[in-house]
Symmetry: C2
Subunit: 125 residues, 2 copies
Amino acid sequence: MTISEVSKQCNISPDTLRYYEKEGLITDINRTAGGVRDYTEQDCKQIEFIKCMRSVGLSIEVLRKYFELFKKGKRTLKARRDLLATEREQLHTRLTELQNTLNRLDYKISVYDKAIKSKTKELKF
Amino acid sequence: MTISEVSKQCNISPDTLRYYEKEGLITDINRTAGGVRDYTEQDCKQIEFIKCMRSVGLSIEVLRKYFELFKKGKRTLKARRDLLATEREQLHTRLTELQNTLNRLDYKISVYDKAIKSKTKELKF
DNA sequence: GCTTGACTTAGAGCTAACTCCAACTGATAC
DNA sequence: GTATCAGTTGGAGTTAGCTCTAAGTCAAGC
């Protein structure tokens, strides 16, 4: 698969794919004789994983560390597990925060709805 | 209240408070004769609100628009309500995404735990 | 009246994560 | 064999959101 095919399939720009490679998030991509990247299905799955993790805010740096550990082989299984567990905890914290803020917004919107109905009130902010 | 008191109370740096003011997120802060900012309780509540919204990713730009509408008075109640509702929807989408990714991470961590126990397996990424 | 310390401003600098650009190369169509 | 087009590289530029710096002001304590 060429970079533009992967780009379409994963909805990530070719520039970003090359950037991820430069940053060590993707490594050992095959090349054709002419030097053109030739992604495997496995590469694609990894890219999807990266996309998923990036979409919830895992940093390039954390992901770089994860794949760096990967390259060191089986002896880093525990380290990788722990790295993921740490990120998981942070995501969980953010999830709770998001839920609370959502509730707060819902309440605020309901206050607005009342104010709009009554046609007299103004809010403080 | 001085800027450093608000800073401590809200856990936001004075620089950030001044930055928010420059960006129009906070307006009409009282000043002492000497030109020093003198925040009211109400200002503090607004700052807490901003902090809460920023913590889940609402942009400075969106918040600026919200407070801009505010300054135009009661006739913008509906517009403000709708702005909040739009942001709420986006937060909801992100919440779902976060939940899915959390599940995915939990699954991956469980796969790691199995691999670590069996002491033979390696994963694909 | 001088020092100290918290404040003020305008504006520069920083970081993460892209995104774009210029110059080049290699394969394909005609 | 030359135009086209998709790819390549290194490096510059962009954006959001702070964060820091320099130079200055003001009030309080001694």
